[in-house]
Symmetry: C2
Subunit: 377 residues, 2 copies
Amino acid sequence: MQIPFNKPFLTGNETKYIEQAVKSGKISGNGTFTKKCHEFFEKRYGFKKCLLTPSCTTALEMAAILLDIKIGDEVIMPSYTFVSTANAFVLRGAKIVFVDSRLDHPGIDEEKIEELITSKTKAIVPVHYGGVACDMDKIMALANKYNLFVVEDAAQAIDSYYTGKDGIMRPLGNIGHLAAFSFHETKNVHCGEGGMLVINDDRFLNRAEVIWEKGTNRAAFFRGEVDKYNWVDIGSSFLPSEITAAFLLAQLENLDDIQRKRKSIWSGYWDGLKDWAGAASVQLPFIPGNGSNNGHLFYLVCKDVEQRTAIIAKLKKNGIQSVFHYLSLHKSPFYIDKHKNRELPESDRYSDCLFRLPFFYELTIKNIDSVIQIIKF
Amino acid sequence: MQIPFNKPFLTGNETKYIEQAVKSGKISGNGTFTKKCHEFFEKRYGFKKCLLTPSCTTALEMAAILLDIKIGDEVIMPSYTFVSTANAFVLRGAKIVFVDSRLDHPGIDEEKIEELITSKTKAIVPVHYGGVACDMDKIMALANKYNLFVVEDAAQAIDSYYTGKDGIMRPLGNIGHLAAFSFHETKNVHCGEGGMLVINDDRFLNRAEVIWEKGTNRAAFFRGEVDKYNWVDIGSSFLPSEITAAFLLAQLENLDDIQRKRKSIWSGYWDGLKDWAGAASVQLPFIPGNGSNNGHLFYLVCKDVEQRTAIIAKLKKNGIQSVFHYLSLHKSPFYIDKHKNRELPESDRYSDCLFRLPFFYELTIKNIDSVIQIIKF
């Protein structure tokens, strides 16, 4: 393989910071590096409170606990997403109500949400696919109208923005009541496996700390508010180690450079493929006017599965790894019987026809040109 | 502070292995270093299958899912344990039935389990406190008699053994149907935050892999058994990163040296304090004849809370950090109403009177002598 799909990289300070953490005498969770990561995000994006987690999956699980999801509650989300978006709520007993994707991009079709809201609906979970914002004005309006919570699945959406009808540009993850980010190795900034819960709604601030610390009031104890720390709620070990946080902080310190590089990779693919795509009936990424491009991934949507299979095979033959993405969750072995035959054709189309090109910090212009040339000829 | 309670350390290869992981192109979970850790444990202790997890907490959560714990199921465990032992099962809807500790050590009182078994009991979770084996013959006999599962909470029990009535010495974690280990920074071998699920019962092997991989059949996919990997079950992101596994592997390669050192620290405390303890009515650690000492921690049980407070204060005044341990879970704010007034006096006694001395690899003989002298005089 000459060009892999993904390749993690060191910005320089990762292992130095890990050694510092060890020398400081604390490498379990919620130490200096964790706090520095929280401060970075809170300052840069105005998030009210951030809590690093072992994964975006576990950040979503914290959200499901905070929303007090119970058996029979309904949660609305796109079918074209990662299993964790759904699993986190299923673990608390939720019924998942899947929505189709948009025609112009794989995000949730905002126009098809309202018809699925019932008296049991508790939350909407929009997924900002590829870092591209869902129409948050529409989604928040529905949440207000029906008294629902919104959890942004911002796994891919670091450093991406949404401009509301009020003309204000807000970072993704700062709009819903809660939001979950991923720092998995394929993400713009990463630490192998990692995630973060963002709490934007005051009502969740105290309980989030408790759930994060295994259901104990340890945080209040260290602030001197209680004299012993005790078991007060459900919870889990939602704290990543300082090793993980130290690695992540080194990446965060290079976020601007990373973002510049990734956006230029994205533009390289776009410029090289846009004319070809029109001729080949291939759908290009679409970024709505109220969204932004965070250079997370570059996908193409083929006209059919055969075309996709052929292009992936051609790339593979030339040593280039390209991969498709999700399979519709409503058709999964686990959920097909629970979904009851409601067709979601766009979700199925992206499942069959979308694939992603190699995308990582160290990808060169020459690499990009090779990929483009092989796709085109 | 001159002598902290705990101090993590590098054995030497941690950051080198992390750099190797990054260079290999994969730092998300289930890569080379994760597999090497699994092989280490499977080979050294004869565990049938190991799966690294982000924490011991999450390993216990995997166990609760594997046992198919549902609302109303009862799970029996000691009250004198970490909140995660209970939380992991409460998250699945279990009612926790707490048992008192033994008079001679803080482990579960094996004689008091049977009277608490009902038709709703699903599992027993013995906790090997301080790495000291519970009487597993008795516990496994009860499990067989009543058709229950046994999950060993072996958080502190790495490299510790139990000799059964059959005369065979088995590693802890290799006796119950499932077992959970911790690699938290206070543990003998550590990676900041980390854990491992051990699967000893064949019935759980396949599903454990699925639950570990977010409820997908990804493992079967990579073995070529299915042609796409899909959502087939509940699950979570139970894989730690390769960064975490790389760090842990470096520690594991030094396990014998670590164990020699820790056992000598333990003996140093024992030799220096045993005569004093008798005179001061202080209870020393007890290791039953069928158990072993893995040098995990050194505790003392004072005659009352006042004596404990005084000794901890005296140590603190001299720059030495000693700490008490658990608070009875049956009296916690979260569970007191659910427990219904059944008294567990030994658990309360350990909550009030037990404390632990500084214990880490780099603790010197001089440090140990200082601690002993300050306690004694």
